[in-house]
C-alpha cells in the first residue's frame, strides 16, 4: 500500500452546539487524486481548514505528511498549495503580484515554474488589480499560484465553482500533469462529474461523517447496475427475485437494476427469454452519492 499523505481519524470539531465534524475519517494516499464529496455544509471546508491548522479540533487525530497540522503548520505548508473555495484577493495588488507573492511566501521561486505558461492557458490578465477580477478570475489567480510550483500536495476546495467549461478542462489537464509529476491531490467538490473524471478514490461526507470511502470501482461493485433489454417474451420470476429492483416492463422492453450477486441469474433469465438487445451501465457517481445518502438518512 502506498504511503499515506493525509490521515484523519475520528476527527471532531464543534462550533458551539453545532457538530461540524463528527468522528470523521479520511485517508489520502501518496500520488492519488482523492475526491472529497459532499453537499454544501457537510463539513468539507471545515476538514480542509483543520488540515491546514487554521482550526483547533476538539478530539481525534489528523496528520499531514505524518506531522500535526496545528503544531507543524509551517513545515507542512512549505510542501503544499491551497486554493480556497471563495478566493478573496488584495484589492490593490495585481493578479501577477498576488501569484508571485503567494509563491514566494511558500518558499517557491516564481521565475522557475510554469507561471507564464499557466497564465496563458488560463487566459488570465495578470495586470488587473485584485478588485477588478470576477469570481472566476480570482479563482484562476489562486489556481495559477497553486499549479506554478512543484508541491507534494494540492489542497483544492471546490476549485472550479467559478470556472467555465473550457477552463474546467484546463484545470483537469493541470491536475493530471501535477499527478503525473507525483503530486497528491485532495479535491473537494460537489460536482460529481468532475470527481468522477479526476479522482482515483473518493470519500463521501455527510453531516461531518465519512459515509463511504474507496475507489470508484470498489464503490460501484457494491452497487447495482442498470440494465435495459429487449426480449422476445417477458421472462418469468424476475419480479421479486432476490437482488432485482425497480423492474419495469413496457411490452417487450425491460428495465431493472440489479445487485452484483444477482447479475448471473438475471443474465441467464434474459438469455432464456430470447434477448435481442441489452445495455448494462455501471452506477454513476450520482447514484452512489444518492445511495450513500439514502442508506444513512
Amino acid at each position: 500500500m502506498a504511503e499515506t499523505v493525509i490521515d484523519v481519524q475520528e476527527l471532531v470539531k464543534t462550533f458551539g452546539p453545532h457538530r461540524a465534524l463528527d468522528e470523521l475519517d479520511l485517508e489520502v494516499r501518496a500520488g492519488e487524486v482523492h475526491g472529497f464529496l459532499g453537499p454544501n455544509g457537510a463539513g468539507k471546508s471545515t476538514t480542509i481548514r483543520a488540515l491546514l491548522g487554521l482550526l483547533r479540533v476538539d478530539s481525534g487525530t489528523a496528520t499531514v505528511f505524518g506531522q500535526d497540522p496545528w503544531r507543524d503548520a509551517v513545515a507542512i505548508h512549505r510542501r503544499l498549495a491551497y486554493v480556497p473555495g471563495d478566493v478573496a484577493l488584495w484589492p490593490n495588488l495585481s493578479g501577477g503580484e498576488t501569484v508571485d507573492m503567494l509563491l514566494r511566501m511558500r518558499g517557491a521561486d516564481p521565475g522557475a515554474g510554469h507561471r507564464e505558461e499557466l497564465l496563458e492557458r488560463f487566459d488570465l490578465d495578470p495586470t488587473k488589480k485584485g478588485r477588478a477580477y470576477s469570481k472566476g478570475n480570482r479563482q484562476k489567480v489562486a489556481l495559477v499560484a497553486a499549479f506554478a510550483a512543484d508541491v507534494d500536495l494540492l489542497v483544492l476546495d471546490e476549485p472550479t465553482s467559478g470556472l467555465d467549461p473550457l477552463m474546467e478542462q484546463v484545470f483537469a489537464d493541470c491536475v493530471a500533469e501535477r499527478v503525473a509529476a507525483g503530486t497528491t491531490v485532495l479535491l473537494s467538490s460537489h460536482i460529481l462529474s468532475e470527481v468522477e473524471r479526476l479522482a482515483d478514490r473518493v470519500t463521501i461526507i455527510r453531516e461531518g461523517r465519512a459515509v463511504e470511502s474507496g475507489t470508484l470501482d470498489d464503490l460501484r461493485h457494491l452497487r447495482r447496475s442498470r440494465i435495459t433489454a429487449t426480449v422476445a417474451r417477458v421472462p418469468e420470476g424476475l419480479d421479486g427475485a432476490p437482488g432485482v429492483h425497480d423492474l419495469s416492463v413496457d411490452g417487450t422492453a425491460l428495465a431493472l437494476t440489479v445487485e452484483p450477486d444477482a447479475l448471473p441469474g438475471v443474465l441467464k433469465a434474459l438469455t432464456e427469454a430470447g434477448v435481442t438487445a441489452l445495455t448494462s451501465a455501471p452506477p454513476t457517481l450520482e447514484e452512489l452519492f444518492l445511495d450513500a445518502y439514502r442508506v444513512h438518512a
Partner: protein, 522 residues
C-alpha cells in the same frame, strides 16, 4: 415616481438603520461642541470690550483667519462663539456625509451587494437616490439640532437659524459631491480620496481667499459659511448658492451614473505590474504594501497640521490671554507658558487622532480574516506569530512615526525648539501603543471584536474632554491612557508613567499573541 427610483425609500431607511450608531455618535458630538461653544463664550469674555479685542486678535492673525475664517462683525457674540464651528467643524459634518453616502453607493458596488440588490425589484438608480436621501435627511437633522443647540446656549434665535442653514448648505453640497465622486472610480477608497481632495481644495480656496484674494472665498461653500453673516445681517439669498451647487452636483452624479455600468468607474482602472517585486515575499512586506498609501496620506496630513498649528500657536496665545481663556487652556495643557500649554494640548489631541491609524490597521486584520485573505497567507509557510507581528509592527511603528512627524512639523511651524517638540510628540507614544494594544487584544480574542477598539478610543477621548467638566473622580478619568502622558513641553518628561504604560501595552500584546496562536482562524 419614476420606475428608476423604485424602492428608494426602502434603501434610505435601511441605510439609516445601518448607520444609526455612527451617525448618532457623530451628530451628538457635533451638537455637544456647538452647545458648549455657545454656552462657554459668554462667560469666557466678560465684557463686550473683551469680545471685540478677541475678535480683532483673530482677524489680525492671518494664520487663524486661514484656519477658521475671519470675523466679519467684531461686536457679534454669536460669530465669535462659532468661530471654530462656522468653517472648521462644518468640515467634520461634510466628512461624515462623505463616509455615509459612499458607504451605501460605491462600497456596496465594490462588495457586490449592489449587484445582489440590483436583481431585486429595486429601480436602477434607487441605491444612489436612497443614499442621497439618507444624507440629506441627516444634514437637515444636524442643521436643526445645531440651531437649537445655539439657542439653548444663549445665542440669538435668528443667527442660530442662519448658522444652522449654513451647515445645511454645506451638508447638501457634501452629499451631492460624494454622490458624484462615487461615480468616478471603481475603487471605494479612490472615491473617498476624490471627495476628500475636493473638500480639501474647497477649504484651501477659502483659506487663501480669506487671507488675501477674497474673490476665491466667494467660490467655495466654506467661504459662504462666513459670508452669509448669519449673526448680524444675514444674506439669505446666499442659500441659493448652496442649492445651486448641490443641484448641479446632483445632476452631474445622475448623468455620470447613467453613462457607466454597475461596478465600473468612469476612469478605467490602471493596470498593475504583471510581476511581483521580489521584496513582496513575506507577510510583513504584504502588510506594509497594504497600509503604505494610508500611512503616506496620514504623514502628509499630520505634517501639514503640525506646521499650521505650530505657526498659529503664538497668535492663539494672544487671543486667549484672558483669565478664563488661560484657565481653559491650562486645564488641558497644564500650568505653564500659554503658548507651550497650547502646544501640549495640540499634541495630546494629535495623539488621539493618530491612534486611529493604529486601530485601522488592526481592524483591517479582521476584514482580511473575514474575507479569507488571512487564511490564504497562513496556508503558506507563514506562521501565525509572523502574521500577527507584521500587523502589529506596522500599527505600532506607524503611530510612533506619525507622532514623530507631528512633533517635528509643529516645531518647524513654530520656528523654535524642534527637538523639544519631537520629544513631546514621542512622549505620547506609550499611551497610543496601549490603546492599539487593547484593540489588538480584542482582535485576538475574537476577530470581529476589533471594532470595539474604536469604541474604547471614543471612551478615552470623552473621558479626557469631559472628565474635568463633569467633575468625574480621578480614578475614572485615570482610566484613559492619555491622562498619564506628561503635558510636554509644559511638564517635564516622567519615566514612571511612560514605562508603566509601555509595560501594560506589552502585556496586552503578549496576551494577544498567546490568544491568537490558539484560536480558530476565520
Amino acid at each position: 415616481m419614476n420606475e428608476r427610483y423604485a424602492g428608494t425609500l426602502l434603501v434610505a431607511r435601511q441605510a439609516l438603520r445601518r448607520d444609526r450608531l455612527l451617525v448618532s455618535v457623530w451628530v451628538t458630538l457635533l451638537v455637544l461642541v456647538v452647545y458648549a461653544s455657545a454656552a462657554a463664550t459668554g462667560s469666557l469674555y466678560d465684557t463686550t470690550g473683551d469680545r471685540v479685542d478677541a475678535a480683532r486678535a483673530i482677524n489680525d492673525n492671518p494664520a487663524v483667519v486661514a484656519l477658521y475664517g475671519p470675523i466679519l462683525d467684531v461686536h457679534s457674540l454669536g460669530e465669535l462663539a462659532m468661530t471654530k464651528l462656522t468653517v472648521l467643524y462644518a468640515v467634520l459634518l461634510a466628512l461624515m456625509l462623505v463616509v455615509v453616502v459612499r458607504r451605501h453607493t460605491r462600497t456596496e458596488e465594490e462588495s457586490g451587494h449592489a449587484e445582489l440588490l440590483g436583481g431585486t425589484a429595486l429601480g436602477r438608480d434607487a441605491l444612489l437616490a436612497g443614499a442621497v436621501l439618507e444624507g440629506v435627511a441627516v444634514a437637515v437633522a444636524v442643521a436643526v439640532l445645531v440651531a437649537l443647540a445655539d439657542v439653548a446656549g444663549g445665542l440669538p434665535v435668528a443667527g442660530s437659524v442662519g448658522f444652522g442653514a449654513t451647515w445645511l448648505g454645506t451638508g447638501l453640497v457634501a452629499v451631492m459631491l460624494t454622490a458624484a465622486a462615487c461615480q468616478l472610480a471603481a475603487s471605494s477608497r479612490t472615491c473617498f480620496g476624490i471627495a476628500g481632495a475636493a473638500l480639501a481644495v474647497l477649504y484651501l480656496m477659502r483659506a487663501v481667499g480669506d487671507v488675501g484674494a477674497e474673490w476665491l472665498s466667494w467660490l467655495t461653500p466654506f467661504g459662504w459659511n462666513t459670508r452669509l453673516s448669519a449673526w448680524s445681517e444675514p444674506r439669505w439669498w446666499m442659500l441659493l448658492l448652496y442649492g445651486a451647487l448641490a443641484g448641479l452636483l446632483a445632476v452631474a452624479a445622475q448623468a455620470l451614473r447613467a453613462r457607466r455600468d454597475l461596478g465600473a468607474g468612469l476612469f478605467a482602472a490602471r493596470p498593475g505590474p504583471a510581476h511581483g517585486s521580489p521584496r513582496l515575499a513575506d507577510v510583513l512586506a504584504l502588510t506594509w504594501r497594504v497600509h503604505r498609501p494610508a500611512l503616506l496620506g496620514w504623514t502628509v496630513a499630520v505634517a501639514a497640521m503640525g506646521l499650521v498649528l505650530g505657526a498659529i500657536a503664538p497668535g492663539v496665545g494672544d487671543l486667549l490671554d484672558t483669565a478664563a481663556g488661560r484657565e481653559l487652556i491650562e486645564s488641558i495643557g497644564g500650568v505653564g507658558a500659554l503658548e507651550d500649554a497650547l502646544l501640549a494640548a495640540v499634541l495630546s489631541i494629535s495623539a488621539v487622532v493618530i491612534t486611529c491609524f493604529g486601530i485601522a490597521v488592526v481592524v483591517r486584520g479582521s476584514a482580511d480574516e473575514h474575507d479569507g485573505r488571512t487564511e490564504q497567507v497562513l496556508a503558506t509557510a507563514t506562521s501565525r506569530t509572523r502574521g500577527l507581528v507584521a500587523a502589529l509592527l506596522v500599527a505600532l511603528v506607524g503611530v510612533a512615526w506619525l507622532l514623530l512627524v507631528t512633533g517635528f512639523a509643529t516645531g518647524l511651524g513654530l520656528g523654535r525648539d524642534v527637538g523639544g517638540l519631537v520629544e513631546a510628540g514621542m512622549a505620547q507614544v506609550p499611551a497610543v501603543w496601549l490603546v492599539v494594544g487593547l484593540a489588538a487584544l480584542l482582535y485576538a480574542v475574537r476577530s470581529g471584536w476589533s471594532v470595539v477598539g474604536w469604541g474604547l478610543l471614543g471612551l478615552f477621548l470623552v473621558l479626557g474632554q469631559l472628565g474635568g467638566l463633569l467633575d468625574l473622580p480621578g480614578w475614572v478619568t485615570g482610566l484613559s491612557p492619555y491622562a498619564h502622558t506628561p503635558a510636554m513641553p509644559v511638564e517635564p518628561f516622567r519615566a514612571g508613567p511612560a514605562l508603566a504604560l509601555t509595560a501594560i501595552a506589552a502585556g496586552c500584546l503578549v496576551a494577544a499573541w498567546w490568544r491568537y496562536r490558539g484560536r480558530d482562524i476565520g
